[in-house]
C-alpha cells in the first residue's frame, strides 16, 4: 500500500467521471480529491483485499490476526494524532488518554449500564472521547512545544491513575466489556457466538478504518486542513491572515481525539476486556506517537502502516526472541537515523529507500562509502569518550 494522496490545483481536464488525465498520466478518480495512478490503485485494492482476508490467512500462516487487529486500532489513533503532528506541528504525548477513554466508555456502558448493542457502545466511546478531547484540548492548547507534550502526558497519566484508583473503574484488574453470559454484546441486534463475533468485529474495524481514512483525507484537503498547515508553518502569520488559530487548533485536537476514541471503542469491542495498562498507560501514548513517525507522518497512510508494524513488532516478536524490546528499539533507531520519512515515506517516489536502492544499482561500490562513513563516526566518538574518561586526546 502506498500513500493515496495526489491531486493538483489546476482545473481538471475531464475525460470522464472516473478517469482523468493529468500531465499526460491517466488517473482514476474515486472521489473528489482522491485521484490515483494505476499502480497506486492496484496497491490500494491489494491492501484492502489483504486486510479483509487477514483472519483467513492467519489460519494457515503464522500471521497473527490479533496483532494485525490491534495494529489497525492503534494505527487509527495514530492517524488521528497525525492531524495535529503533521499539520499544526504539535507533539501530543498523551493520546492514550482518548484511546483509553473510548475503551473505558464501552466497558462502563456494558458493565454498569447493561448496554448490549455494539453500536451504542461505539457511539458512547465517540461521545466520551469527544468530551474528553474538548476539555483536555481547552486546558492544554495554551501551551506549545515541550510543555504541550508534557501536559498531555500528565492528563493521560491522570486518567490512568484514576482508572487504577477507583473501584468503579475496575482498578488494576480492569473492566469486562461482556460481563457474564446474560449481558453479551449484540451486533446488528443479533447475538453471535464468540468464534463469529471476533472476526465480525474485525471486519467492522476494517470498514471503520477505511471510512476514517477517507474522512481524514477530506479534512486534510479541505480549506480547514490548509489552514492547519498554515498554522503549523507560522502561527503569527496565520493569525494575521485571519485564521482563528486557537479555535482551529482546538477543533483539530478534538478531531484527533475522536479518532483515538473510535480506536479505543473498537479495541474494547474486540478485546472484550479493558485493562488500564493496555489502554491508558503513557507507554501507549508514546507508541501511538512513534507509530505515526515509524510509518511516516508526512503521509496519510503512514501512521496506520506504522501502527500495524509497531504492534506486530511488540506483540509477535516475543514468540521469536526473548529480547523483542531490543529488536523494536533497533527498528526505531533505524527509522531515526536512516529512514526519517518512515516506512511509507521511504517507499514513495523520492523516498530514502528508493534513493539508496538507486545508488546501489548504479554503483554497487557505494556500500564501501557507507561503511567508511560509519567507521569514521565510530572513531570520532571513541576519541571523545577517551577525552571524557582520561582528560586528554
Amino acid at each position: 500500500m502506498s500513500g493515496s494522496e495526489s491531486g493538483s490545483e489546476d482545473g481538471p481536464d475531464e475525460d470522464g467521471r472516473f478517469v482523468v488525465t493529468r500531465g499526460g498520466e491517466r488517473r482514476y478518480r474515486l472521489m473528489k480529491g482522491l485521484e490515483l495512478t494505476r499502480r497506486r490503485l492496484a496497491y490500494l485494492v491489494v491492501g484492502i483485499v489483504f486486510l479483509f482476508f487477514v483472519p483467513d490467512i492467519s489460519n494457515f500462516t503464522p500471521l497473527s490476526f490479533r496483532a494485525v487487529a490491534h495494529g489497525l486500532m492503534f494505527g487509527t489513533a495514530a492517524v488521528g494524532l497525525n492531524l495535529i503532528l503533521r499539520h499544526t506541528r504539535e507533539v501530543s504525548f498523551g493520546h492514550a488518554a482518548f484511546f483509553g477513554t473510548g475503551a473505558y466508555a464501552t466497558a462502563i456502558l456494558a458493565t454498569h449500564l447493561k448496554v448490549t448493542s455494539g453500536f451504542v457502545l461505539l457511539v458512547g466511546a465517540l461521545v466520551a472521547s469527544t468530551l474528553m478531547a474538548a476539555v483536555i484540548g481547552f486546558l492544554t492548547l495554551r501551551h506549545r512545544g515541550i510543555y504541550f507534550a508534557l501536559l498531555t502526558l500528565a492528563f493521560g497519566q491522570l486518567l490512568y491513575a484514576l482508572a487504577l484508583g477507583f473501584e468503579y473503574l475496575g482498578g488494576a484488574d480492569g473492566l469486562p466489556v461482556r460481563p457474564g453470559s446474560a449481558n453479551k454484546v449484540h451486533l446488528f441486534g443479533i447475538l453471535f457466538p464468540s468464534e463469529v463475533y471476533t472476526p465480525l468485529v474485525y471486519y467492522i474495524t476494517v470498514i471503520f478504518v477505511l471510512l476514517s481514512l477517507l474522512v481524514m483525507l477530506r479534512i486534510v484537503k479541505s480549506p480547514f486542513g490548509r489552514a492547519l498547515d498554515a498554522i503549523g508553518q507560522d502561527r503569527t502569520r496565520a493569525e494575521f491572515i485571519g485564521i482563528p488559530v486557537t479555535r482551529y487548533t482546538w477543533i483539530a485536537f478534538v478531531i484527533s481525539g475522536v479518532y483515538g476514541g473510535l480506536a479505543g471503542g473498537l479495541f474494547g469491542l474486540f478485546q472484550e476486556y479493558i485493562r488500564p495498562g493496555r489502554t491508558l498507560f503513557f507507554f501507549r501514548s508514546g507508541e501511538i506517537l512513534f507509530m505515526a513517525i515509524l510509518g511516516g507522518f508526512e503521509t496519510l497512510l503512514g501512521p496506520l502502516v506504522g501502527g500495524i508494524v509497531l504492534v506486530y513488532l511488540l506483540q509477535s516478536m516475543r514468540f521469536f526472541t526473548e529480547y523483542f524490546n531490543f529488536m523494536t528499539g533497533v527498528v526505531l533507531l533505524a527509522v531515526v537515523y536512516f529512514f526519517p520519512e518512515g516506512v511509507v515515506g521511504s517507499i514513495q517516489e523520492g523516498g530514502a529507500l528508493r534513493l539508496r536502492l538507486r545508488e546501489l544499482r548504479s554503483d554497487p561500490a557505494v556500500v564501501t562509502d557507507w561503511g567508511s562513513g560509519a567507521v569514521t563516526a565510530a572513531r570520532r566518538s571513541l576519541g571523545q569518550l577517551k577525552y571524557i574518561i582520561f582528560g586528554s586526546r
Binding site: 507533539v91 508534557l150 500528565a154 492528563f155 484508583g165 528499539g329 533507531l333 571523545q384 574518561i389
Partner: protein, 310 residues
C-alpha cells in the same frame, strides 16, 4: 499522629530520591534541550549495578550488629558502592550522548522522543540480558543497616538508612547548587543553557560540554537507583514510574530549574504519601493533579527556567 509523621517522613525520603533523579533529567533538558526518555532506564541500570557492586563489597564485610566500628565501616562501604555505581554510569552516559543523541540535536523533537524511546527499549533488554528478568533484592547484606536504631528521640522507629540517605541527598543538593553557581565549569554550563551560540562564540566547546552534562545526568540517575536498592527489590520496569514522576517534578519546578526540582520533588513526595492515608484512590493521581493545577495557574513552573540567575 505518629502515622502522619511517619508518612511525611516517607514522603520526604521518596521526594528526595525523586529530586536526585529529576535533577539529572532537568539539567539534560535545560542544556541539551532533549527530553531524555532513557532516564528511568539509567536509574534502573544504577539499581541493578548496585545489586552487583554493593553485593560484592558488602559480601566481603561482616554484617553490622550494633553502633560500633563495624556499622561505620558498612556505612562507608555503602556510600562507596553508591558512588562507584554513579561513576560506572558516567562513561555509559557519555557514549550514549556522543554516539546516539548527538546526531539528532537539530531534528524535530518527535525524532528525539523516538530515539530515546528506542534506546530505552534497548537498555531494558540489555539489563534483562545481563541480570535476568527475575527481581533481585539484596536485603540480606543490607538489612543490618536498617537495624541501627537512631530514631528513638522522635519516639518511634524509623529506618536509619533512610535518614542517612536523606541527609546525604540534602548535602548533594547544596553541592549541586554550589557547582552551578560558584564553579567555573558550572557557570559555563549555565551560560550554554541560556545561549548556545554566544557560548560557542566565546570559545566553549559545546560538544564536549553536552557530553559532560549527559554523563552528569546519568551519574545522578544511577546514584538514585543505587540508593534505593537496600530498601526494595529491582525489576525490569522499575524505571517507568520515576521517569513519569520526574517529568511531573521538572514541570512543577520549572523546566531546567534545580531549585524548582528540589521543592517540587518534596511536594510531590509528601503529597503522594499523605494521600495514601487520606484518600488511597488518589495516591497515584495526586502528583498529576498538582502538575495540571500548577501549569494552569503558573505555566512556567514554580521557579521559572533555569540558567538565569536565581
Amino acid at each position: 499522629m505518629v502515622a502522619i509523621i511517619q508518612q511525611t517522613l516517607n514522603g520526604l525520603w521518596f521526594g528526595l530520591v525523586l529530586f536526585l533523579i529529576s535533577s539529572g533529567l532537568t539539567i539534560i533538558l535545560g542544556v541539551l534541550d532533549v527530553l531524555n526518555l532513557t532516564h528511568g532506564e539509567l536509574f534502573a541500570l544504577g539499581a541493578y549495578l548496585a545489586t552487583t557492586v554493593g553485593g560484592m563489597i558488602l559480601g566481603s564485610l561482616a554484617e553490622p550488629t550494633g553502633y560500633g566500628l563495624q556499622a561505620a565501616i558498612v556505612i562507608v562501604a555503602v556510600i562507596g558502592a553508591i558512588f562507584l555505581v554513579g561513576l560506572i554510569l558516567v562513561p555509559v552516559g557519555a557514549v550514549m550522548e556522543s554516539v546516539f543523541i548527538r546526531p539528532v540535536y537539530d531534528r524535530p523533537e518527535e525524532y528525539q522522543l523516538v530515539l530515546t524511546f528506542g534506546l530505552l527499549l534497548i537498555i531494558r533488554d540489555a539489563v534483562a540480558f545481563i541480570w535476568g528478568s527475575i527481581p533481585l533484592s539484596w536485603n540480606d547484606p543490607y538489612s543490618g543497616i536498617n537495624e541501627l536504631k537512631t530514631t528513638e528521640l522522635l519516639g518511634f522507629a524509623y529506618p536509619s538508612y533512610n535518614f542517612f540517605i536523606m541527609v546525604l541527598i540534602v548535602i548533594s543538593f547544596v553541592a549541586i547548587l554550589w557547582f552551578f553557581n560558584r564553579t567555573r565549569i558550572g557557570r559555563i554550563i549555565r551560560a550554554t543553557a541560556i545561549n548556545r551560540e554566544m557560548a560557542t562564540a566565546l570559545g566553549v566547546n559545546t560538544r564536549r560540554l553536552y557530553m559532560l552534562v549527559f554523563a552528569l545526568g546519568a551519574f545522578f540517575a544511577g546514584v538514585a537507583g543505587a540508593m534505593l536498592v537496600p530498601t526494595r527489590a529491582t525489576n525490569l520496569t522499575m524505571g517507568e514510574d520515576p521517569l513519569v514522576l520526574s517529568f511531573v517534578v521538572i514541570v512543577i519546578g520549572g523546566l531546567g530549574s534545580i531549585r524548582g526540582a528540589f521543592v517540587a520533588a518534596l511536594v510531590v513526595g509528601v503529597v503522594s504519601r499523605l494521600a495514601i492515608s487520606i484518600a488511597p484512590a488518589l495516591e497515584l493521581a495526586a502528583p498529576f493533579a498538582i502538575m495540571v493545577a500548577i501549569l494552569l495557574i503558573k505555566p512556567e513552573g514554580l521557579f521559572g527556567t533555569w540558567g538565569e540567575l536565581e
